[in-house]
């Protein structure tokens, strides 16, 4: 007896989708209705997600629910949904974080003109993301994946009157499309090889053993192509450039999309098709997983360094997100799938908290985003300060009470055991220090020190905004209960093992190592930034390095000079070809036609027409000659009759 929710899992994305459509049809003035509807839809989705989660607790391996979407020829395209621990935790995390963000948005967007549209988009986004999570078919996942992309486009460019927002939306859409192209190709290839796109299908799914064995050597290429989709969506190097620009959207959007859920889709995808990556592994190492690891390491370290030199409060968090996603990718790559997903979930909570906190700060400072103009907000916005500190410590990985610490430690464990190379482990340790450093920098600039221009008139946010912060802060702390090595419940749940309570595992070298590293990072941060003024201390010490990092390693400029120039040139050439070559051909053909037309016209005019004219001229001449004789005088006619009579008489007389 499978629980009711397993067969009706589609309801979870369907509810927000229906809500979104209803809100779109509402009038612009129905603000309260729209917000209430969106939140109600999200509460319903959360309730269903919890039901699904409870169902997996009782029976972790529910059978997938598949059905035929359409058939062509002998082939049938089948889609369906699946409920496993991976999907279940994601469902709960997404709906819970979304709910907090929806509530926060009511306060943050209170004065926006397009309030209802905003909630419609948010609901739509949430529906698409939930669809990605429950999909049991790569095709359905891809469809929802693209819907997520569309939703992010709509939300990043929500303030369409801002040219920078429109540009950022376009950039996000196009950059992720580059990755999606690879994803699509990988999907086609996989379908060509295995003949199915279902993940689980009673042993016949594309990531189950039978199909995997038929893939053979092409599995690596397919996995890498699919990974390119994840690279685009999760903002991994070299397609990470869209993510920081996406901060042009309203802050709740940044929290929802670029911290908690959408960027998680890439990591989730890799975890979902993990058997493709790990096929034929020798001691847990495959070529595709090695690529994942190195991309993740590059991303994590590079964006952590860039975050160190950013001044926009949201951009720092954006680069921090990119860095953390790199960390998750590393974890997946070295074989720590459960650790990566745990960090994903924990990160979802505390990054949403940080973004909403940043939103609260921006709201309080009257839309100022430059941290160098803030400062001393600790006293003015105590609630925001407290919750933000929780988020900061969770992100930096302060041990014992904060969820990020435990998950990060699991990842460090996993990297330490990777047989291929020790370098990622070392770089990850450096990443921990950097994370603590840039977060300390941000905290000091925003909440400590003297009050600067923007913070002079700052105020605490209304309860509708601070309540979600508190809920998320509680999640960020409370979540660590199921993460500690003493009782690694979530880890066991995700990897399908039994959990044992063992306090002795709490004490281990890695804990002290990470404690030391975090402490070093924070101490270093305090040492450098405690007297920071309007100019960044790092800029004073290393101006060249700071400029390099501040300009995001000139990667955007590099793309401008290479990819974009190339694309522009190609467009120009095509334009020229179209305008002059093809158009010229078409015009030449048209010219021939016109020439022929002119020829027949002149033949008509001067040949046939002239002949007819000549003939009618004669007739007319004759006519006018005769008509001239018609004087209209009745007596002339009578005279003619008389003359005719006379002539007849004479003729008669002459004949007889």
């Amino acid at each position: 007896m499978t629980p009711w929710i397993v067969a009706n899992l589609w309801l979870i994305p369907a509810v927000p989708l229906a809500v979104s459509l209803v809100i779109l049809s509402l009038a612009n003035s129905r603000r309260k209705g729209a917000a209430a509807l969106a939140i109600a839809g999200q509460v319903a989705a959360l309730a269903l997600a919890i039901a699904a989660f409870v169902a997996t607790l009782q029976a972790p391996n529910c059978p997938p629910h598949n059905f035929t979407w359409f058939t062509f020829g002998e082939n049938a395209v089948r889609i369906g949904w699946v409920l496993d621990p991976l999907a279940a935790v994601m469902l709960v995390m997404i709906t819970l974080v979304s709910l907090c963000i929806f509530i926060f948005s009511v306060g943050y967007m209170a004065t926006d003109k397009s309030f209802t549209r905003f909630f419609a988009y948010l609901s739509f986004f949430s529906a698409a993301m939930l669809g990605v999570v429950i999909a049991n078919s790569l095709l359905l996942l891809f469809v929802c994946w693209e819907l997520v992309g569309l939703a992010s486009y709509l939300l990043i460019g929500f303030w369409i009157h801002k040219p920078s927002a429109a540009a950022a939306a376009k950039k996000a859409f196009i950059t992720t499309r580059v990755g999606d192209l690879g994803f699509f190709l990988g999907m086609l290839w996989l379908y060509g090889k295995s003949g199915t796109l279902l993940f689980y299908d009673n042993g016949h799914g594309c990531i189950e053993n039978a199909a995997l064995l038929s893939l053979g050597a092409s599995a690596t290429s397919i996995a890498l192509l699919i990974f390119s989709g994840a690279v685009g969506k999760s903002g991994q190097f070299p397609l990470h450039v869209w993510l920081p620009d996406a901060m042009e959207g309203p802050t709740p959007v940044s929290a929802l999309i670029h911290a908690a859920t959408m960027v998680a889709a890439g990591v989730f995808l890799v975890a979902r098709v993990y058997p493709l990556f790990s096929l034929g592994a020798i001691a847990g190492v495959t070529p595709s997983l090695t690529v994942v690891v190195w991309i993740g390491v590059t991303t994590a370290l590079m964006s952590a360094l860039i975050a160190l030199a950013q001044a926009d409060v949201k951009r720092i968090l954006a680069y921090s997100t990119v860095s953390q996603l790199g960390l998750m990718m590393v974890s997946l790559g070295v074989g720590g799938v459960a650790a990566g997903i745990m960090h994903l979930i924990a990160h979802g909570f505390f990054k949403a908290l940080l973004f909403l906190g940043a939103g609260s700060v921006i709201h309080g400072c009257h839309e100022e985003q430059d941290i160098r103009k803030m400062g001393g907000l600790r006293g003015l916005m105590p609630l925001t300060f407290l919750t933000y500190s929780v988020g900061m410590m969770a992100l930096s990985g302060v041990p014992l009470f904060f969820s990020g610490a435990w998950t990060k430690e699991e990842i460090l464990h996993a990297t330490a055991q990777w047989p291929a190379s020790r370098v990622p482990h070392g770089l990850m340790l450096a990443g921990v220090v950097l994370t603590a450093l840039y977060m300390t920098r941000q905290m000091i600039y925003v909440f400590f020190g003297p009050r600067r221009a923007a913070s002079a008139r700052a105020h605490e946010s209304p309860p509708v905004m601070s309540m979600p912060l508190i809920v998320l802060a509680i999640c960020a702390i409370g979540f660590s209960v199921v993460l500690t090595p003493a009782w690694p419940w979530l880890f066991a749940y995700l990897s399908g093992e039994h959990v044992k309570f063992d306090l002795s595992r709490l004490i281990q070298p890695m804990l002290f190592l990470s404690l030391a590293l975090v402490a070093a990072g924070i101490a270093l941060g305090i040492a450098i930034y405690h007297k920071a003024g309007e100019t960044d201390p790092l800029e004073q010490m290393q101006p060249a390095l700071f400029r390099f990092l501040q300009n995001r390693m000139w990667l955007d400029e590099f793309y401008d000079r290479t990819v974009i120039i190339f694309s522009w040139t190609a467009a120009r050439v095509s334009d020229w070809l179209d305008r002059y070559f093809w158009d010229g051909l078409v015009r030449a053909f048209a010219g021939i036609g016109q020439l022929f037309g002119a020829l027949t016209t002149s033949l008509d005019e001067h040949g046939i027409n002239a002949g007819v004219d000549e003939a009618t001229a004669n007739t007319r001449g004759l006519g006018s000659l005769i008509s001239a004789k018609h004087s209209g005088q009745i007596q002339t006619y009578l005279g003619a009759v008389a003359l005719g009579m006379l002539a007849l008489l004479i003729l008669y007389a002459w004949l007889t």
Binding site: I626, S627, A628, K629, H630, S631, G632, Q633, I634, Q635, L638, G639, A642
Partner: protein, 104 residues
């Protein structure tokens, strides 16, 4: 001297020529009508003369034709006069020189 057929025919021809002359030369519509009446009278005279000097003068065929012809002439004169009056009302003239709308 007994009148002969030839003398009747001569009178008739003179009458006809007078009528034709009047119809061709006068400009007034009424006089043209009178000319036509004269030509009709010439024709009637011919009928009667041919009958009187014909093979069977006992039967009054020629007189009967003449009487019919006179009746028809009366009707024709009435129609003609009505036409003249209508033309006069329309054009304010009875001079046939001015009536040349059928000119080609």
């Amino acid at each position: 001297m007994t009148p002969t057929l030839t003398s009747f025919l001569a009178v008739s021809a003179a009458l006809f020529c007078t009528g034709l002359l009047a119809a061709l030369s006068r400009r007034h519509a009424i006089f043209i009508l009178i000319g036509i009446e004269l030509m009709l009278a010439a024709a009637n005279l011919n009928f009667v003369a041919f009958w009187r000097f014909g093979p069977e003068p006992q039967q009054i065929t020629g007189v009967m034709v003449a009487i019919f012809s006179i009746a028809i002439a009366a009707a024709e004169a009435a129609v003609g006069l009505a036409l003249v009056i209508a033309v006069y009302r329309h054009y304010r003239t009875t001079s046939v020189d001015k009536l040349d709308q059928l000119k080609g």
